[in-house]
Amino acid sequence: MSDLELLKRLCTADGISGDESRVRAIIEDEIRPYADEMYTDAMGNLIVFRKGRERAKTKLMISAHMDEVGFIVTDITSEGMLKFAPVGGINDSAVFAGQVLVGKNKISGIVCSKPLHLLSADEKKKCPKMDSLSIDIGVCSKEEALKYVRPGDSIVFDSFYDDSEGRIISKAIDDRFGCLVMIEMIRSELPYDMYFTFCVQEEVGLRGSACAAYTVAPDSAIVIEATTAADVPFSEGEKRVCLAGGGAVVSFMDRSTIYDKEYYDMAMRLARENNIPAQTKTMIAGGNDAGAIHRSRGGVRTIAVSVPCRYLHGSAALIRISDAEAVSEIVRILASEIAGNDKTY
């Protein structure tokens, strides 16, 4: 993984679930000269075929999702304040006092609540629930608001980006990071033919990947993701799940998938043999597109490799660049090993 400038463009592009077109446009531009086949399906998934030096013995699909978590405008009050709902899993605590951009015209807004000074002692200590919050865009009436925004408009975090000092702080690292790894693979010479799917709607129920896997009909799949690293203060032992700085995360099981055991062992062995730092998750937590892909059609042998990411679904998620590089390296080696060998047990 080397193109940090592109990662910045991907992460700062806006694309909540169901509204991924701007992210897809960036990816199309980046891979157009390299892709042997490329098309967008009925869902909005971008499906790419890249020829390798040799024909694959196992038909391999590598997958990452383009969508990010965010919000959607649900209603506008008579005072012109926007009510909203989360799109994807966002904690109530991450929302209040945030800066956001609303709709296609990127109208600036802030998430408002009653001021601190007028709260009871109890209220001061609780993060407000999302349904009690509203977004102020600076207007005073519903009529005025409707000139700029309307119910159904997408809302994204208006967040900072920093990639200094060997780490990245940004929104949407989940899963623009995975998109970058695939873009860089497509731009390079591959040993075997491979399919790449840039999927939509992961955050609202693994929906895009289910259809992409049906269309591609692979024998095997590698999912590239960002996964929760809970190595934060007041979290100990196995509850940390995985560690930022601990290398690529290869999962054997999560809430959506029991991963292919042979692939899991293979990934760990390849990491060891190639001196690439790798770790596994120490809790059965989370889930990703593998949950839809592995049970597509008659079943797909599936493995996921993820970058450990703190504050995953917030406006300021954090990863170490060394972990991102480890994921990129393992995925390349693993893809070659899977595609170059016969699929049967």
Partner: protein, 337 residues
């Protein structure tokens, strides 16, 4: 200078309570061309405009400190233990970006959902900051006592509203700067001291000590007030865009308050009022009883999301407050009442 530009300069990521000296260059940049600037031992910065004809002395005060956090300890994993400086809204912190010390970005730690089963609420003793750097590097770059500032972008909302952190009370400071610019053109008939006072958010000490040193004949304090919104009592708030909130309270000078109200009326500025039964919760409470007593008034800029990283005010309100204050000074305050 354009009011938005003034605000953007004033809302720099510096100057939490106790570190106001970081703001003195900014005050010099804005007012140094036509005011005499000095910095007091407390960090308070004073810009003075003198008149040849009169020794009558009006103090205009706006606190220049901003709320924030300070690093108290670096733990073995490189996480920063921090303590609030001023009454920060803890609800606004989880997962948000901050600037630590000399410009290092960090994130306020949060528990991921699978571990976030604790319903006991936000605990100020458990706030940690994550820079994402290895412990050794953190120790090189960060020292205990360093400031931690809530990050936000300087954003314009619709209708000339600005959302950014530190508007409490850099919005008030902008009122003073605008007022000074107006007075510069009109030559005030009395002596005026623009006091950018320190440590309002911690113990209101900057304004009180400055008032003692200046011993003005009277003082008007400019701060931010609560904006009208759902759940905010109407007698304690003003609508964003109304032009400003004039305080009415027993601790304030009735003459000053009446004068401010009549100027607003003459100017057709539709100010709202905040009526308090005792103190005002601003620097005026302390200034009023400094030395042998100083008559005080308060005018405020309505603000949303007070003490968070997305405070929000109207540019029009800042300009309206500046007009009122400028007229007030040109009429020599309550000198002739």
């Amino acid at each position: 200078m354009d009011t938005k530009k003034i605000l953007e300069i004033l809302c720099a990521e510096k100057g939490i309570s106790g570190r106001e000296n970081e703001m003195s260059d900014i005050v010099k940049q804005l007012l140094g061309d036509f005011c005499k600037i000095r910095t007091l031992t407390t960090g308070t910065v004073i810009a003075e405009m003198c008149s040849n004809e009169s020794s009558y002395h009006i103090m205009l005060d706006a606190h220049i400190d901003r709320i924030g956090l300070t690093v108290t300890y670096i733990d073995e994993n490189g996480f920063l233990c921090v303590e609030p400086v001023g009454g920060i809204d803890l609800r606004s912190l989880p997962g948000k970006a901050v600037t630590v010390g000399n410009g290092i970005m960090g994130v306020i730690c949060t528990m991921p959902p699978h571990l976030d089963k604790d319903d006991s609420g936000l605990d100020r003793s458990k706030i940690r900051v994550d820079t994402g750097l290895p412990t050794e590097r953190v120790r090189e770059l960060v020292k205990t006592g360093d400031s931690v500032i809530l990050k936000s972008k300087f954003r314009e909302l619709l209708n000339d509203r600005i959302a950014v952190s530190a508007l409490d009370n850099r919005a008030g400071c902008a009122v003073l700067v605008k007022c000074a610019e107006m007075l510069r053109e009109n030559q005030p008939p009395c002596r005026v001291s623009f006091v950018f006072s320190s440590q309002e958010e911690t113990n209101e000490s900057g304004a009180k000590t400055a008032a003692f040193i200046l011993q003005p004949d009277e003082a008007v304090v400019v701060d931010v007030g609560f904006a009208k919104q759902d759940g905010v009592p109407s007698d304690k708030s003003g609508a964003v865009g109304c032009g400003g909130i004039i305080s009415i309270a027993p601790v304030l000078s009735k003459n000053i308050t009446d004068r401010l109200i009549s100027i607003a009326e003459n100017r057709n500025i539709n100010c709202d009022f905040e009526v308090d039964g005792g103190g005002t919760g601003t620097n005026a409470d302390g200034i009023a009883v400094t030395a042998g007593g100083i008559p005080c008034g308060v005018i405020s800029v309505p603000e949303k999301n007070m003490h968070t990283q997305t405070e929000c005010v109207s540019v029009g309100d800042i300009e309206a407050c500046a007009v009122i204050l400028s007229d007030y000074v040109m009429g020599e305050g309550i000198r002739n009442v």
